[in-house]
Subunit: 375 residues, 2 copies
Amino acid sequence: MKKKDPTVNPILNPESKKHSETDFNHFEVLLANRNSGIALETLRHDVTPIGMHYLLSHFDIPYVQDEKQWSLEIGGLVNNPMTLDMDYLKSLPQITQQVTLECAGNGRALFKPHWPSMPWTYEAVGTAEWKGTRLIDVLKTADVKTEAIQWVFSGADEGVDSGVQHDFSRALSIEMANNPDIMLAWEINGQSLPPQHGFPLRLVVPGWYGMASVKWLNRIEAIDYEFQGYQQVGTYVYRKDKDDKGTPVSVIRVKSLMVPPGKPDWYTRKRLLEAGETILQGRAWSGFGTPITKVEIGINDDWFEAEVFPANEKYAWSRWQFNWQAEAGYHQLKCRATDANGDTQPLEPPWDNSGFGNNCVQITEVWVEDDLSNV
Amino acid sequence: MKKKDPTVNPILNPESKKHSETDFNHFEVLLANRNSGIALETLRHDVTPIGMHYLLSHFDIPYVQDEKQWSLEIGGLVNNPMTLDMDYLKSLPQITQQVTLECAGNGRALFKPHWPSMPWTYEAVGTAEWKGTRLIDVLKTADVKTEAIQWVFSGADEGVDSGVQHDFSRALSIEMANNPDIMLAWEINGQSLPPQHGFPLRLVVPGWYGMASVKWLNRIEAIDYEFQGYQQVGTYVYRKDKDDKGTPVSVIRVKSLMVPPGKPDWYTRKRLLEAGETILQGRAWSGFGTPITKVEIGINDDWFEAEVFPANEKYAWSRWQFNWQAEAGYHQLKCRATDANGDTQPLEPPWDNSGFGNNCVQITEVWVEDDLSNV
């Protein structure tokens, strides 16, 4: 048997990671292969087609053969601890909502230097139509004790991060969890959740980055202290450097993306376009259902205002459109959204040590030719 | 307007790519984010869940709002040129088949040095249940002329690769296309094709690497010469070096993969496992429905034979299983399949200049601890 010294199991005793100045290592590529982003051209769809929504699974996707085996335990500081099955949950009043979710690490690869983790560029976003029941109705029945301050939501997925073994768990304050738009969901886009989206039951916290929407949800526990789980305090914290105490990642920052115009080069994904009128279009969204009030289009050094269409629903993205007269040559296209709070996207990535919350404007490089049939 | 010299549009006049010795560049990561691989733990499923099957789209995914707008033209050297709509195709006799498809570039990232392109490691595979009609029945109606030697299948997806503008097109010999198992498919896993799988119509060529299964299929043309399209002769060719005339990539090579045992480290995906009996399991498959006759499991330097279960259907993968007594320490696990032709997987990547056809054995690194509740 080939043995490395078992007293230094590198999973439980990992070396510290360091920022990378340039390229991406084998582990980052493994993560990019396993997780998946939206193809930017599918931003044309109001609701992201099944299988195109971004996916980030920290640990293994649990294998659940039959939802009849599943139960959701509600315990801790409650007067009425409960174990609920899927039949019961599906008998409750149902709601359906279109929700835009984005990974908090979206844009990590655009930081220079970048933190070695899932190297998203722009594509960790999607809008799905979720069906389920209101979380608050279920929690009310459990009757939380007055001394409780947080609910902890745990999934069946387990693993190790930075040497810490844990199940994926995230907390919300009792007050936050009273929001009637937070769902226990069992359907996406009219079908049962696929395994990778949390079958058979998940939390959907609209308006927050995706880490709050715990998949494979099997436990909810009321506690009277601030939850110290790894996914709450070890990561998903904005930090300027590794010693910064930081601020928890929560609500999605205002952002927009463009459907790349023209046609792509396979390898670089840069764009080739024929001169003439071109409809530029895309999506814009912000945190917690804050409406998008403005989208500006940057054509090289000039900015123009796009038409913004109202979102289908409170937590869904808005569509925007701009007619561009494309002239031959090289162009840098940008889009920049502003929301009803007056928040707008920065032109440069807002520094974060671990690469969270990067809502800087997308840049699309386009080469325009007068006649593409001639080249 | 910011202009690079428009006479050197780098999409139409690209620089030559070079092999990379070590890390992966920004373009490779963009491709990995946009395309998606199976999560290896979902190899447990006979049929890969919707949204988990590997996806490789060369160009943009076409936006098709309504299949009523779609038509399939059959022309070239035929006596009866036809334009078929989806209603007509769906009125033909239907077949349903489970087919394991793999990307020809799967394993590219494991070559040292590696070719800069989509940096798959192990995960570009999946088994879907396709529904459609037999290609041959449709082609017979078109009545190919005797001088024709190939059918060219074209998709609606278009772009540029290595400076060459083209629609994605692939050819099959007239004889090959007579295989009654080749399908025109409009459903995957009991539902209409999602856009990214080729909505509304695609070719499925069982047993061949995925590039043959043209998505968004809208034209089939009979020709009397060897097709010279970029996707036929510019890529998908096995070459020892760039000057090698090479051999076309076609049938899938024998391969196997393991469901990683234990639980993962988030970043490295290496595995942590508690000592004791562990069921190792996975999948094995080969080209053109050749049955898997043997799967061997490598535990460090020793090889053992796994139990292999018959495939559900001719072109679907087989499941294999092996009971392992895991002892504390570091282990390298491998799996190696052999098919009924006697072909077996190599231990090292079989060199290919562009990283095609890498069917070398997978290596899974596992750290076993006597008691995981103690660490």
